[in-house]
């Protein structure tokens, strides 16, 4: 098992914390994990991304230069990173903010209006976890239980009131991914 996951968007979308959540969940399942942020000279409101590697083997380079999964939270991220995804990989597109389609035909692509769905859940900040829920369903890289358990560790206690809405977001993403799988198989 090996997944190199790249999560990219703009600052404030929870890109780095979503990655940490995923890494934490992998650690709880006793997998080898590494998380690394981009730390280039970025301006405020600029792009942010992080790479997460989850594997049953020790991790060599933590830098995800050839992702098996790309989560694109905004358009510049999709345009910048889609060429790097390995053939047969997975691209998850936040179609609320991305009005173009991917050019790749050799990867699986799932479009999800994550921000709109998050608004429906009553909290625009959980868009990232809707996509994360889909990622879990489509790759099985870690279990949803491990992610929920990790939320308790990653969120400071005063934010634990946000766990239910995050759980709903993960579930929403999972449902969408299931529909995507059904459509593919029918």
């Amino acid at each position: 098992m090996f997944e190199g996951i790249l999560i990219a968007g703009f600052g404030g979308q929870g890109v780095l914390s979503t990655g940490q959540l995923l890494a934490y969940a992998g650690m709880m399942e006793d997998k080898h994990v590494a998380w690394i942020p981009s730390y280039g000279p970025e301006m405020r409101g600029g792009t942010a991304n992080c790479g997460i590697t989850i594997s049953d083997q020790p991790i060599s380079s933590p830098v995800v230069s050839e992702p098996t999964v790309l989560i694109a939270m905004n358009r510049p991220s999709l345009e910048k990173f889609e060429p790097a995804v390995v053939p047969g990989g997975l691209i998850l597109v936040n179609s609320s903010l991305i009005n173009i389609k991917t050019k790749r035909t050799d990867v699986r692509t799932v479009y999800m209006p994550a921000n709109d769905l998050a608004e429906e859940l009553g909290n625009s900040k959980v868009a990232n976890n809707i996509i994360l829920g889909a990622l879990l369903e489509l790759t099985g890289v870690v279990s949803a239980d491990a992610v929920l358990e990790s939320l308790k560790k990653v969120l400071p206690p005063k934010r634990h009131n946000l766990i239910p809405v995050n759980a709903e977001a993960l579930e929403k993403g999972r449902e969408l991914a299931c529909k995507f799988k059904e459509k593919k198989s029918s």
Partner: protein, 354 residues
Amino acid sequence: MAKVLMKGNEALGEGAVRAGCRYFFGYPITPQSELPHYLAKRMPEVGGLYLQSESETAAANMVFGAAGAGARVMTSSSGPGISLMQEGISYIAGAELPCVIVNMIRGGPGLGNIAPAQSDYFQAVKGGGHGDYRLICLAPASVQEIIDLMQDAFDLADKYRNPVMLLADGVLGQMMEPVELGEEKIAEAPEKPWAATGRKKGGPKRLINSLYIVPEECEKHNIKLAQKYDTIRRNEQRWEEYRVDDATMILVAFGTCARICKAVVDSARNEGMAVGLIRPITVWPYPTDVITRVREKAEQFLVVEMNMGQMIEDVKLAVEGMRPVHFYGRSGGMMPVARDVFGEVKKLYNGGAA
């Protein structure tokens, strides 16, 4: 004890606190700023002192003072900041004071950039400042090893009354990995009967000094230092061997590069090539002993670094011309990719054919 997910820079801070370090002086610079950030919060919790100095030059001299008073003390920086500290580091080495200095190397020379590099190797292991001195240099390759080596760094510094440098690169500082912290037992610094802590009514005079104005005395001091460095060379070489036993080709790499080379060794083994890796954990003293041993069986060496070829000189010194020593490097903040290193391995293994 449960594992926690930690950034390399934070692990440096926590490792130092657990090793009994109670004083930190430093000035922020990417890619190591999370370390002072962490200690600004952590030091007061354990009754220690965190101070942001006005410059790196000042930080090195604050370390000089605290070390002279017997404290377990640390500073950290990256490339340009470490260059500014060199005067103070030379004084500390000359006065034989224990301290720990972290260099989270970034691309250079000059202002360079903030991406990971290993291009300060020469500066770290060959001197850096003026005069005839050595730093003990440790090169971790994972966040767990950072935690483990911080304790050793302070112990070695005190054991030999010598500055110790922890040499890492931006990737190790920025990445998060699971670490086992173990029980929180905080080490105590050993007794330091030489420390300048005040005469207290007629005690013996203690002087911290690097001035030997009479050349005869300064030479004597240099000989004493050289003898200490020889002892360190004999006793403190550390390295990790990975699949070297039957290897006819040996990769040599430290830090992040060694992680990449481990994957390359596995790929090579999968294709039936007898390739192994030596990962120096001390880059000074250089683990010459193991190179001398493996050069009997190994037909060639390939040194992989994130610079244009620095550690390769130490490998060549150890190989003593008995075997060819090749080089593969990326520089300026670029990292080697396993596939490219493997390509180089295959080419060399097949006698130069691609």
